[in-house]
C-alpha cells in the first residue's frame, strides 16, 4: 500500500500524477482519479483571472496526510495519491489531483469521492478568486458540508 499527500507551489500536471498512480498501482484492476480545475467564472458570473490558495506552514500538509490516510484505511484501497496546489493559480489550471487504486473499481470510486468531499471542507487552505470585479474569499457551501456529512 502507498499513500502520497503533497502540497506544491509549482504547476500540477494531472497526466504526470495519473502516470505516477498507475505506476504505483501496477497489477491493480482499477484506478480512479479526480482533477479539480480553477474556474474561469465566479459563482456570481464574474470572470476570474487567478485563484490564490493560501496555506499554513504545518497544518496544511498534516490535513492532506490525514485525509489521504483515512481514505486508504476506510476503503482498504492499495494506493492513494493526493497532490494539491498552493500559491497563485491561473484560471483554468489544475488545483488538485486525487486518485485511488485497488483490485476492483467500487472501492476506488468511493475513495476518490471521499477524498474530494473531505478536501473541500477540511484541507487547511484558504481560497481567494481574483478578477476584474475584485477579489473574493471562497468558503465551502452548505452543499459541501452536506456531502462531507455523507461519510459520517
Amino acid at each position: 500500500m502507498s499513500v502520497i499527500a503533497a502540497i506544491q507551489e509549482t504547476p500540477l500536471d494531472p497526466r504526470d500524477e495519473l502516470g505516477a498512480l498507475l505506476g504505483q498501482a501496477r497489477g491493480d484492476g482499477a484506478a480512479v482519479s479526480f482533477v479539480g480545475v480553477a474556474r474561469l467564472v465566479s459563482r456570481d458570473g464574474d470572470p476570474i483571472d487567478r485563484l490564490i490558495l493560501e496555506h499554513h506552514p504545518t497544518l496544511t500538509r498534516r490535513s492532506l496526510e490525514g485525509i489521504a490516510n483515512a481514505a486508504a484505511r476506510r476503503f482498504e484501497v492499495s494506493h492513494v495519491r493526493v497532490v494539491h496546489r498552493c500559491g497563485e493559480i491561473p484560471a483554468g489550471d489544475p488545483i488538485v489531483f486525487a486518485g485511488a487504486a485497488w483490485a476492483r473499481r467500487r472501492a476506488a470510486f468511493d475513495a476518490a469521492d471521499y477524498l474530494m468531499d473531505r478536501l473541500k471542507t477540511e484541507a487547511v487552505l484558504w481560497k481567494r478568486e481574483e478578477g476584474p470585479a475584485g477579489s473574493a474569499w471562497i468558503e465551502p457551501r452548505e452543499a459541501d458540508y452536506h456531502e462531507r456529512g455523507r461519510w459520517g
Binding site: G36, L53, E54, H56, T58, L59, S63, L64, H84, I95, V96, A98, M116, L119, K120, T121, E122, A123, V124, L125, W126, K127, R128, W137, I138, E139, P140, D144
Partner: protein, 80 residues
C-alpha cells in the same frame, strides 16, 4: 502575545497583532477581547467555524493560553 490571522481574517485584522496579555486566559476570552478592539471584525471572529491554533494544534474555546503562547486564528478552510 502574538496573534496571527489567516485568510479573510488577515484582510480584516492584518496578519499579526500584538496583545498585551497580563495573565493566562481562554481562547474564548481572547476572541472577545480582539472583537472588542475591532468591532468590524467581531462577526468574522465569532463564526463558530473559525478555529484557534496553539503550537500547531487546533484548540477549543475553553483552552487556556499562557502569556508566552502565540495563537493563530483560522477562518473556514476549503481545498479542492
Amino acid at each position: 502575545m502574538k496573534i496571527r490571522f489567516h485568510g479573510r481574517l488577515a484582510d480584516a485584522l492584518g496578519r499579526e497583532l500584538d496583545i498585551d496579555l497580563q495573565a493566562p486566559c481562554t481562547i474564548g476570552r481572547l476572541r472577545q477581547r480582539i472583537a472588542a478592539s475591532f468591532p468590524l471584525a467581531a462577526g468574522l471572529l465569532g463564526d463558530h467555524r473559525v478555529r484557534a491554533c496553539v503550537r500547531d494544534r487546533l484548540v477549543a474555546d475553553d483552552h487556556r493560553v499562557a502569556i508566552s503562547d502565540a495563537v493563530e486564528f483560522l477562518p473556514p478552510v476549503s481545498g479542492g
